[in-house]
């Protein structure tokens, strides 16, 4: 195993985790809600790709995005909206409930063994092959899509009216509403964006490994959440970097550990996380003396 390749693969997977982190951090920034059901958006998009595998690829991708966005919007509309003024513990439990309910739906509809969404498996072909380094198309896609979506989110937040309103709401929700910022609009916008991110993650993950199981999105979401907490949950940039770091680390350790010891991978990742949190409880990437004034 060539170290350049190991690094490139790790950067690719890091980008996917960064997309999960953006989705989670946007919701947290605007609503102070840790959306454990975010993974179900990824799973929903994954199963859409399974169901739509016979359709032309662009159509299947569009459908996956549509399903994740609509589900994200519905989640907020039906479940979280009425809990907006509830205790954080209540809303947290609600996100668990939504996640478990949807997982039950996936289990009943698609079974526990998993279904294959192999419409993008051709991306596993090597794109560049020189001197023992093989860079697959899927890695390039991960980097490209990750970069584009990160840039698009930044532009949306910094250059549009709704983006400004989202940043204001994230900093001081009541002050924003007093100025006329519509709470429903900024929250819906955050969920819609998180849906787009989830669909992108599902598409990239299935391109690398087509098996979609009921816990397809859950695993990456839990890990990304750990990354966000480590990076600094309060800010979009630190949360995204934390997500990237955990994906990077996961891929790196996965490649470095001998296959007989891969079972220890999660433990190794969590051990590193615990050490980081002990050393820097505010988050690895949080600036010194960080305030919570600028969250998005």
């Amino acid at each position: 195993m060539n170290w350049i390749q190991t690094l490139v693969d790790a950067i690719g997977l890091g980008s996917v985790y960064a997309l999960v982190a953006i989705g989670l951090a946007l919701i947290f920034g605007v609503m102070r809600l840790v959306n454990f059901a975010h993974g179900e958006l990824i799973t929903a998009a994954g199963y859409t790709l399974v169901v739509a595998h016979a359709l032309p690829v662009p159509v299947a991708i569009a459908l996956a995005v549509l399903v994740a966005v609509v589900l994200a919007w519905l989640m907020e509309r039906v479940a979280f909206r009425r809990l907006r003024n509830a205790q954080p513990a209540t809303t947290l439990v609600a996100t668990f409930a939504v996640a478990f309910a949807l997982e039950a739906v996936w289990l009943i509809a698609f079974g526990a063994r998993g279904e294959s969404a192999d419409l993008l498996s051709s991306l596993n072909e090597p794109a560049i092959q020189t001197g023992g380094v093989t860079i697959r198309w899927v890695t390039i896609a991960m980097l490209g899509v990750g970069g584009i979506l990160l840039g698009a989110t930044t532009l949306l937040l910094n250059r549009t009216k709704i983006g400004l309103q989202m940043r204001a709401a994230a900093a001081d929700f009541r002050a924003a509403r007093l100025l006329g910022v519509r709470a429903d609009a900024v929250i819906s916008a955050a969920f819609v964006i998180s849906g787009v991110m989830a669909a992108a993650v599902a598409i990239l993950l299935t391109a690398q490994q087509p098996l979609v199981t009921p816990t397809f999105g859950l695993e990456i979401t839990i890990l990304a959440l750990v990354g966000i907490v480590v990076g600094g949950m309060d800010r979009l940039t630190t949360a995204t970097m934390g997500g990237f770091a955990i994906g990077f680390l996961n891929s790196l350790l996965g490649n470095l550990l001998p296959s007989s010891e891969r079972v220890y991978l999660p433990s190794a990742v969590f051990l590193i996380v615990i050490i980081v949190l002990l050393v820097r409880p505010v988050g690895l990437f949080a600036p010194r003396g960080a305030s919570t004034a600028e969250r998005l």
């Binding site: 400004l164 309103q165 940043r167 204001a168 900093a171 001081d172 009541r174 002050a175 924003a176 509403r177 007093l178 100025l179 006329g180 910022v181 519509r182 709470a183 305030s291 004034a293 600028e294 969250r295």
Partner: protein, 258 residues
């Protein structure tokens, strides 16, 4: 039937409603009353003061006008229409602006972005031409520091930004919560002079303040609030009557309500 006379009769029969009517408003936080059935109104172009000690319920009164406090009784009407059940953002968009206690500017955003947020609720329907104030002229400092982070401004500059931001929505009712709080005397003067100018342009104002005397002097009418109730009404001529002000402030506390 002579028409002008008929019109005049109609006008006297249905005078325009006050811009703001507070009608037996009651607010409680988890069962603890903060505002106890208060009533007063503010007419078009008037400036009304609301003074009183800490915890009197002044901020709560302003927040309940904005639909941001747990109202348990009575109602608030603006231009005759009840605000009951309306969302904060819709009240803001209907032309009521609050400069909240503690300013609540967005420190991580630039001054320009803060001002842009003030324009969200602006309605360019010309229905309130009296409130078209040139904010840049009123607060040159805000214009000068457009590209700075709002959090980097001094307290006085932040207060000017907060007022400028509220004015950009072209409110026909402006609510101010302790605009002079924590400011150096020279800056307080800047803020007061701005308030005088805003008032001269005809904006209807409800001003909450701790500085009793200057508020009573400036406002058309001032109410003293204590323990959630209005205890006295003061005219500008009574600004020097310190005894009346202090009695209203602290008079009833002897009854052991607090």
């Amino acid at each position: 039937m002579p028409e002008p006379a008929a019109a005049a009769t109609a006008a006297t029969a249905t005078p325009a409603p006050p811009v703001l009517e507070i009608d037996r408003l009651a607010v409680s936080f988890a069962g603890v009353p903060a505002v106890r059935e208060i009533s007063f109104s503010v007419k078009r172009g008037e400036m009304v003061g609301l003074i009183g000690p800490n915890g009197a319920g002044k901020s709560t009164t302003l927040l309940s006008i904005m639909g941001a406090a747990p109202v348990v009784g009575g109602e608030v009407r603006v231009d005759g229409a009840s605000l009951r059940g309306r969302r904060t953002e819709d009240i803001a968009r209907s032309g009521v602006a609050l400069v909240p206690e503690g300013r609540h500017i967005f420190p991580g955003l630039t001054v320009a972005e803060n001002l842009e947020l003030g324009e969200i609720s602006r309605r360019d329907d010309g229905s309130h031409p009296d409130s078209e104030i040139d904010v840049r002229e009123l607060f040159p400092i805000v214009e000068e520091f457009r590209h700075r982070q709002a959090g980097a401004l001094s307290g006085g500059q932040q207060q000017q930004l907060a007022i400028a931001r509220a004015l950009l929505s072209r409110p026909h009712l402006l609510l101010l919560d302790e605009p002079s709080l924590g400011l150096a005397p020279s800056v307080v003067e800047v803020v007061w002079s701005a308030l005088r100018q805003i008032r001269e342009r005809g904006v209807t104002i409800l001003l909450v303040e701790q500085r009793a005397q200057i508020t009573v002097q400036l406002a058309d009418r001032s109410y003293v609030m204590n323990n959630g109730e209005l205890r006295a009404e003061l005219a500008p001529s009574e600004a020097e009557d310190l005894e009346k002000i202090t009695t209203a402030y602290f008079g009833a506390t002897a009854e052991g309500e607090r």
